[in-house]
Assembly symmetry: C2
Homo-oligomer: 333 residues x 2
DNA sequence: GTGAAAGCGCTAACAG
DNA sequence: CTGTTAGCGCTTTCAC
């Protein structure tokens, strides 16, 4: 593959001039510049960003860390991120930690070794101290969903608002009596905000006592399935799940054991994954703009790379309630 | 971050010796080697693979091209690939083409620019000519699912066998009479093999006339849903779908329109995505080992990188029939 | 066994 | 405006 020297030779100029011309820097006459550019095209020149990065300290690579690319939520975010990065000419270095802290840590080291310029971090386990390594190596970090440190920007869904909207709907239009909340890791920001939205709204309606029980589980399909009999035992007529996977698990349990949804148990979730609308009683859930979330995170990172002095920000996306069938028919005014 | 020079200085040796020691090359006394290694650890040295790659032509980066990371099938394959690459110390450069040929092409160029050592290619659109660019730049390619060129290795599921197993089950244990096949792109290898397996098995049982109709559609949920009334009109009592998304779409249609599954229509799919077992009548489908597929592809690529002279291979994984409820109860012998 | 020197492809000073 | 020079961090001859 042709390099900058080949072009210089061909055009009878100095490599430095070629570099200037190709990078759009000033100090090159339009005549030579166009000559160089067309020559580069002719030779099929393609700059080696790695070599350039060696001196500019800009590798053109961004790290993307996700807990599990197999989870449709993370996959959508990843797609948003990589789309923006591609159009900006950046490469995406994918790190799937498989929810394991040791692997995540190993990846952090690799990312620094490869001199990534920044990283988009989706992690449920990392703590502020864990991302020190990035600051030490001068790589910008953007957190998604989980605001790990207030020294870096975070982009996330307004989980609080989403939970408020959902709860209000449950109260006003579905006439629920007893709610059981099935949440995820107690420490996680997502769990915290969604639960707070639920509780605050209940209070606002003077219905605090309607929350009969709060569970904390591994937030996936299987655990949702297993927990459901316990939920039923509480006498709750409504299950609010931390996400759609859990809700789907609960729904499957009901299906298998003849528990009618929504008449005996209403079920609501969060995220609006594809499967949510595919089941026999489509799930009422809080839609999250996952792709956009990824886009915003990448855009913010790119912005901060261009403006190194910029201060951390918090960007929140507004959620949208998707009323379907799993919590009963919506009453029309 | 400390570099090779810092270590050389600290240990009062030449940078070249440090390089030799750290890379496990011979020509360094054990004494100095261990001194250098412990010094490197002390300084938190971390080799810059990009700089090394400049001279060795080994960037340590592998490209992974997928049509849509949002699709659970591709996500699982991707996870298998990146897991293997990580343990081998390679980085994964993610390219999500979003099923667009132009984006895929743009990525091909980027991958070459970044001097990736190889690429794992999942593409439904690329032709042999499109991957010439990789050969020209000396980057190894492994195809997954779709054998684009016989100059490169391919790893794929034995789609033919899977279709044979499924068809035999349908014939012997579900007593189907009329089958409608809902396939994907006519040219795609996956479609071809699955259809061939279906036809050959029918023939083997002397039941060619049981295949009443073959449809070709965009193989996703929505198109599966829309096509179903047409399928019903053919009088078929069994729908064999090219994948689970299509099968799920068909199932939703039946649910909505009171068509009983399996008594009026039996439905079978391919892939065994998570949602397949979540619906009210769990789907009979052909399980594919997606994660393993990714692992094998990455391992083969790594192998070929180590043995540059090795000839192309074809690796097939055996599928497994998952008998669930959507084609009727399995008769016990 | 170790050091000196050259160079991978590129950019950034500094001259001219 | 353009050329010269040096150097990013590393590896690899080739001497000694």
């Amino acid at each position: 593959m042709a390099n900058i020297k080949d072009i210089a030779q061909e055009c009878k100029v100095n490599p430095a001039t070629v570099s200037r011309a190709l990078n759009g820097k000033k100090g090159v006459s339009e005549k030579v510049r166009s000559r160089i550019i067309s020559c580069a095209q002719k030779l099929g020149y393609c700059k080696n960003p790695l070599a350039a990065g060696l001196i500019t300290h800009k590798s053109g690579i961004i790290g993307l860390v996700v807990p599990d690319i197999t989870n449709p939520y993370y996959a959508s975010v990843a797609q948003g991120v990589s789309t923006v990065l591609r159009s900006a000419g950046y490469g995406t270095f994918l790190c799937d930690s498989q929810r394991r802290r040791d692997q995540e840590m190993q990846y952090f080291g690799m990312l620094c070794a490869y001199r990534v310029e920044g990283v988009v971090l989706l992690s449920v386990t990392a703590k502020a101290k864990d991302i020190e390594i990035f600051r030490a190596n001068n790589v910008r970090v953007i957190c998604v969903d989980n605001p790990i440190s207030n020294e870096v920007s975070t982009v996330l869904n307004d989980n609080y608002q989403g939970a408020c909207d959902l709860t209000e709907h449950l109260l006003r239009e579905c006439s629920v009596n007893k709610i059981a909340a099935v949440m995820g890791t107690p420490g996680a920001e997502t769990t915290r905000q969604r639960l707070r939205g639920l509780e605050d709204t209940l209070k606002r309606f003077g219905r605090e006592e309607s929350l009969v029980k709060v569970f904390n589980i591994e937030p996936d399909y299987d655990h949702g399935f297993e927990l459901t009999p316990e939920v039923l035992n509480t006498g709750a007529d409504c299950l609010v799940a931390i996400n759609d996977s859990v809700a789907l698990g609960a729904f499957s349990y009901c299906l298998k054991h003849g528990v009618d949804v929504p008449s005996r148990l209403k079920i609501a979730g969060f995220d609006d994954i594809a499967a949510a609308s595919m089941i026999s009683v489509p799930l009422t859930t809080v839609h999250q703009r996952k792709f956009v979330l990824g886009e915003k995170a990448a855009m913010q990172l790119l912005y901060e790379l261009k403006n190194p002095g910029s201060l951390p920000m918090r960007i929140e996306l507004l959620p949208k309630l998707m009323v379907r069938a799993s919590c009963g028919e919506q009453l029309k005014a």
